[in-house]
Amino acid sequence: NLSCDQNSDVCCRKDYYVDFRDIGWNDWIFKPEGYQINYCMGECPMHLAGTPGIAASFHTTVFNLVKANNIQTAGRSCCVPTQRRALSLLYFDPNSNLIKTDIPDMVVDACGCS
């Protein structure tokens, strides 16, 4: 799992944080104070296909055979999230009730090549 930096184009995780105070949302979102809206970007050349993304699945076997035999495939390998976690929110609804919920798969923790 790479964090993006200026020097490489390889598939990586780009970190970005939105502070609720900056966008005027801190009056109705009680906790947390912001949202880590990371996303994935970068190249996935063939030799990176399947790393670390679907390493634990049967696709890996197929991809390894494809690579080992230099079979040209029509598909492309993309830079996608491989690990995500929930965003726990404590917020006020329109009737000023305080609601606590976990929204699944909202924060990207790791990226990889499919």
């Binding site: 184009d9 598939c11 970005y16 939105v18 900056d22 966008i23 949302w25 009056d27 109705w28 009680f30 949202y35 809206i37 970007m41 970068g42 190249e43 996935c44 993309c78 830079c79 965003l87 929110l89 917020y91 006020f92 609804d93 329109p94 009737n95 000023s96 009730n97 305080l98 609601i99 606590k100 919920t101 976990d102 929204i103 699944p104 909202m106």
Partner: protein
Amino acid sequence: VEARPGCPSCRMPPLEPSAEKAFLVEVAKQQILQKLNLSQRPNITHPVPRAAIANALRRLHLGKGRMDGSSQSSEWEKPQPDEQGYEIISFAETDPSGLLQFQLTQTKDQDMHILEAQLWLYIKAHRNITIQIYLAGHQRVPLVEQQLGSKGSGWHTFSLMPAMQNLFESKDETLHLELQCKGCHLNVTALVTTTGSSHQSFLVVKAKLQKPGHRITKR
């Protein structure tokens, strides 16, 4: 090796930092509103006193998992992956007749399955009293009767199940509770703190939202 401008995977031209920020802020807003089934950000017209919020959260945190007041830890049923779990804290407003009014928010096209519902009341020092709680309305429905004995001021919890499940099913958004007190010398409203105080009464509902199309597997 040479510097390549733009997004390496989608060939978009590079965004100005301010444009990137505006774009990501907009995406973040849309994502959060969509996941909370909200069409726009709520406007808070009746802010609850911070002290009341802090007290309620502290009570719930101290009693983590203790919902019916008697068992020490009854972790609520973890929602299934395709169900979203909610914990709703609704603060009471006391109307002039002494009724506790709760304004719940219902989503029309989704069913809330209520797991637990508990009323928290901060009751001043008392001696040998029994609290009775009714669902107010043209049909006055008894909900719970609980003997409190003799104690100093403090929080007490009253379970409101299964009435709360019926209320959510009726999609009624306003809940009025009537308190009665056996053994009290004063009116019960003098015993329970009112709106705006740091010991404001509150209702905690633990629920899970069943997504449309949710299949209940027959065992």
